[in-house]
Symmetry: C2
Amino acid sequence: MLPVAIDAMGGDHAPGAIVEGAQRAAAELGVPVVLVGRPDAVESLRGDLELIPASEIIAMAADPGASVRRMKDSSLVRAAEAVRDGKAAAMVSAGNTGATMASALLRMGRIRGVARPAIATPIPVPGSTPTVLLDAGANAECQPAWLLQFAQMGAVFARERYGIATPRVGLLSIGEEPSKGNDLVKDAHVLLAAEGALASSGATFVGNVEGRDIMTDGVDVVVADGFTGNVVLKTLEGGMRTLVRAVFDALGPSEVAEPAIEALMPLYGVLDPDATGGAMLLGVDGVCIISHGSSSATAIVNATRVAAEMVETGLVDRLRTAVSVD
Amino acid sequence: MLPVAIDAMGGDHAPGAIVEGAQRAAAELGVPVVLVGRPDAVESLRGDLELIPASEIIAMAADPGASVRRMKDSSLVRAAEAVRDGKAAAMVSAGNTGATMASALLRMGRIRGVARPAIATPIPVPGSTPTVLLDAGANAECQPAWLLQFAQMGAVFARERYGIATPRVGLLSIGEEPSKGNDLVKDAHVLLAAEGALASSGATFVGNVEGRDIMTDGVDVVVADGFTGNVVLKTLEGGMRTLVRAVFDALGPSEVAEPAIEALMPLYGVLDPDATGGAMLLGVDGVCIISHGSSSATAIVNATRVAAEMVETGLVDRLRTAVSVD
C-alpha cells in the first residue's frame, strides 16, 4: 500500500502529538505513513518517517478558500497533491477543516457525478455501532438532490466502515411524517422515498428521523444539510461535555467517586472523540480523513487506521458506483 | 388573579395526571385553576375544581390546523377562548403542540407587530440558569426579521422568567464569525448586530454561538429558526437520555451503584423535563404554556406556577413594548 500522508502541521497540538501519532501508527498498525510539513519543525521529531516538505502552514482560523488558493506550498495542499499524484494512498489532517476540504476538493477533484462532497461524522452510540451523520458541515446551503447523494454515500461508508450489510438511512426532520420539516427536507424526502433511490448503495430508507434518534441503534445513517448537521454535532459535543462534567462534579470528592468513575471509564472511552477515527470527506476522488482540532496522538493513530482501511476496502470506487448521476 | 385554564384532556397521561397536577397546583401554590375538558372524563377526578366543559379531544398526532378549525368544542380551543374572553389568565396544555399553538394563535391572536409566535424552551444548564432556546419548533421556515423578533421576545422572557437583568442573546450558527452559517443566519446576523436592535428588550447581542454553547452559562438566549431549534431540542433530549441510561448501565448492579446514583440524583433533577415548567409560546396575546406530552402531575404543577408568574409579571405587555414593528 502507498503511505498515508499525515499533515504534521495541522491541529492544536501540532506538530508534536501529530508526529507521535504518525510514528505510533507506523509501529503499531504497520501502516506506511509519510509526514507532510515544515522540515525545520518536524526534523527533530520524525525519526525514520519520510517527509514531504511544505513550507507553509494554514492557520486553524484562516479563511479556507483564500488560504488554499494562495498557500500552494502549505502542508494541507501538499498532502492532497500527494494523493492526487499517486505518492500517497490517503490524507489525514487535524488542521483547519474548511481548508482540508478545499485542498482535497481542488487537488483530488470530485468523484464523477457528485454535486458536493459531504463530511461524514460517526456519532458514538453506547452499546452499538456509531451513527453516521452527514453532512456534518461542508455545505451550509443544500439542494434536495445533494441530500440524496449524501444518503447514498453515507450508506456505502456505513457498510465499509462498520460492516452494516443493509444500512438504515434516515432523513433528519422535526416529525416522522413526510409532511414535517422545512422545504428542503420535504423535497428531499420525496427523492429518498422514490423506488430504487438507494438501491445502488444497498440501503433502506427508514423515513424521517428526529434528533432523539441519532444516539440510538434505530438508524445507521442520518442525512442533513451541512448547517443542521454541524449544529447537531456541536450540540451533542457540548451537551455530552456538560453532562460528563456534571456527573463528575456530582460524584465529587466523596468515597463514592473513585469506584464510580472507574465503572464509568469504558463509557467515557466510547464517547471520547479521539476514539472515533475522525470524520471522512465523502465525494472527493481520494480518501481524506478530517480529525478534530484537538486531536491527540491516539486520535491520529485511529484516523490513520481508518484511512488505511478505507483505502484497502476500495471505498472511493464503491462510492463511484453508488452515486446517482443525473 | 383569574384562574389558569388547564387542558385536562391533553398529554399521554391525561386526564389522570393532568387533573392531579391541577389539584396540587391549587393546593400547593394557591394558584386558582380551572379545568377544561369532557365532563364525563373529568367529573370523578376533579374534586372542588371548576370545569369548563368541552366535548372534543384533539388527538396527539392529529393535524393541528385542520383539528383546530373543525373541533371548535375541543378542550384546547375552549382553553384558548377562556383566555381571550377574560375567563382565564393563562392556558396550560400537555397536548398536541401544533394544535396548542394553532388554538392560541387563532383564539388569542398575535401581539401587534409580531410576525410569527415562537416556542421558547428552557434548556437546563447544571449549576446555572437554563438557556432559553427559541424558536423550538413553531416555524420550520423563517425569515431574518422573524429571528430578530425571536431575540427580542426571548430576551424579555429570560428576564421575567429567570431574573437576568441584561440577557445575552446568541444566534445559533456553525462558527463565531458573522460570515459563517446559512443565508438565513447571515442575514439575521446583520439585523441583530445593528445598533439598537435589542435596545427595546434590554439585551446584548453576543454574536453567533454554536451548539456546544447551549448547555453552558455563556449565553442566556439562543435564537434559531424553528426547524434547527426543534432538531437541537430533540437531539439534546435524546443524547441526555442515552447518556443517563449508559451511566446507570455502567454503574450496573454493583455496590458502587447505589451511593453513586444517590449522588447523581440532584443532577437528574436538574435535567428532568418535568422540572422546567414547560415551554412558552411567545408572541400570542396571552400566556400559553406548552408542557411536554409525557407530562406528570409534577410537570403540570410547575407549568401552572410558571403560567401564574408570567401573568403576574405582565409578560405579554412587556413583550408588546419590546418587539420591533416595521
